[in-house]
Symmetry: C2
Subunit: 331 residues, 2 copies
């Protein structure tokens, strides 16, 4: 039998295990032109929360009682498609199933000499690309500028900080535990890191960590942390709005200080994006990220949870910050 | 004697007449190299409210017990400066005085064949430039797109709408009286106009007026009107944050729906500015605005109040929308 995870109900607030259901499907048969994929690594990401709601969004919502999908690394275990052979490894947005059929369309073949293969879901996959595109295309950092990153110990945030350092900027990270802020400085090279859970006056803490003010704010969290960063923004500051995890589980419209006033006062910019907005620059980005990884300039952190059955809980744990860096399930 | 208006106290909430004081100064003496200016037209503008507070802003606040300044058209009535002669007309940021001394520095000589001279404070002055720069440099309209303008019957808003039409866009204006919405359509060529004071469901009204959604929102007001426009924004929408008059008199931090969510969902941009951010493009802008005016493509509305003593009240009246188009005091 072939285990599959379907969306049983649309989460209200924080997702619950009961929003997911495991069903056993019959093992699929491989037809001519198709191949059978065995799931190896599954990426669980905050943005999936949005697709579990039926609100208007940039991608259609997941359908109820249908499998959920996310970034997956899989092994070809049987092939009736001339472009793929048994033992190939591929990456794509795929369904939360132990095994699945593919026509090969959209599959990216990956080089198994780069290990672990979960990197293709992380620092050299969409995660790294999200960091790279948001920072370079919207933030447009200049050497000597100060970048503040929220959700800095997350997969995207820790990569943003490293790219900022490579580009000659001062980088300040915000995260939720002392263990995370320690890693930001010792492992990822952030100049300063702030634990928002133990800091009373965030506005002052950000000011202290950013003596020249904040030129770029790469925002993964939204909410009151962002309010504090906004107040430290420099003239012509740029706010890269990548995520708002603090509000993803909100059941009412999240309210906060209106931004128009400081945007005018500071001639500042605030821009949202999803990584595919910059798909015309993906090959450039992949080349650059791969090169930095090889040169040892880019490191990463993964939280790897074992077992197909752990996928829903691993996803839920994102919202309480249980992960350090990229959250991956190894099947 | 020479009447001068000083800032007596920093307004709390809506400015009051008692925040201003008229003082009589001695008529100034013209020294070698100087000239004496007689004030002809005074521009009163919402942004001056910001300078009356001592909050952090892009320009230093007005000093207490010192004259207020704004855009002024003046006549040279005496000159000991070889670059100016009696009878010349000039424009600059000048003080609220009947007469004042200038060294000539910064004064822009203006062509008196263009009448009324108040146009140099309006459609071919900083007002027109603000409309032009915000729309073209941030909004970047493409023919066929839909532009929504708030504060549309104001000096900047009515010019934005006309430029939008010249550039081939659909233009929807939002204003506060039926008289204003009528003028938007009949005089300024807006495709649709919405009276926010008589419209219950602004979100729906904007949707109805914008069948293709909103590509550009040129925002002069902020607040709940803007919330309704934001909800109609298209993918890759651009919000030009020019003003937030609805919040200028707020005594507490104005709160509203957080914007990060829709900025991400729509890959949208929100950017504040002041016109001087684009000073390197002023000569291009002035040329274009002047040409459109000559070609009859750009019209304007002025509310002209008579008398130097009327300046404070004319300024206060901006916040209740008593003006149609540019608010000018003719001295």
């Amino acid at each position: 039998m072939n285990k599959t995870i379907i969306l049983k109900s649309r989460p209200k607030g924080t997702p619950q295990l009961s929003d997911f259901e495991f069903v056993d499907e019959k093992m699929p048969e491989v037809m001519q032109g198709e191949l059978l994929l065995k799931t190896i690594f599954v990426s669980v990401d905050p943005y999936l929360r949005g697709r579990m709601s039926d609100a208007d969004s940039y991608v259609p919502p997941f359908e109820l009682n249908k499998p959920i999908s996310s970034g997956i690394v899989a092994e070809v275990v049987e092939s009736k498609n001339e472009n793929f052979k048994k033992g190939d490894f591929v990456s794509d947005r795929l369904e939360w199933k132990e095994y699945q059929i593919s026509t090969g369309e959209g599959l990216q073949k990956i080089d198994p000499s780069i290990q672990p293969l979960s990197l293709y879901l992380g620092v050299i996959g969409m995660t790294g690309m999200t960091a790279y595109m948001g920072l370079t295309q919207i933030g447009k950092p200049k050497a000597g500028e100060t970048i503040v990153v929220s959700g800095a110990a997350g997969a995207v945030g820790s990569t943003v900080g490293q790219i900022g350092k490579i580009l000659g900027c001062r980088v300040v990270g915000i995260a939720g535990t002392d263990e995370k802020t320690e890693i930001l400085k010792s492992k990822f090279g952030f100049d300063e890191a702030i634990n928002y859970n133990t800091t009373k006056d965030m506005k002052k803490a950000i000011a202290d960590a950013s003596p020249q003010g904040v030129d770029i704010y790469y925002d993964n969290v939204g909410g009151s942390i962002s309010d504090a960063v906004h107040r430290n923004l420099n003239q012509f500051g740029r706010i890269v709005v990548c995520g708002a995890i603090s509000t993803y589980n909100a059941t009412e419209m999240p309210m906060g200080p209106r931004v128009e006033g400081f945007l005018i006062k500071k001639s500042a910019l605030m821009q949202g994006f999803i990584v595919s907005d910059f798909s015309d620059k993906f090959s450039e980005g992949a080349k650059q990220l791969g090169q930095w990884l090889k040169e040892g300039k880019l490191t990463y952190e993964e939280t790897v949870v074992e077992g197909f059955d752990s996928i829903p809980q691993a996803f839920i744990d994102l919202f309480t910050g249980k992960n350090k860096g990229k959250m991956i399930v190894k099947v």
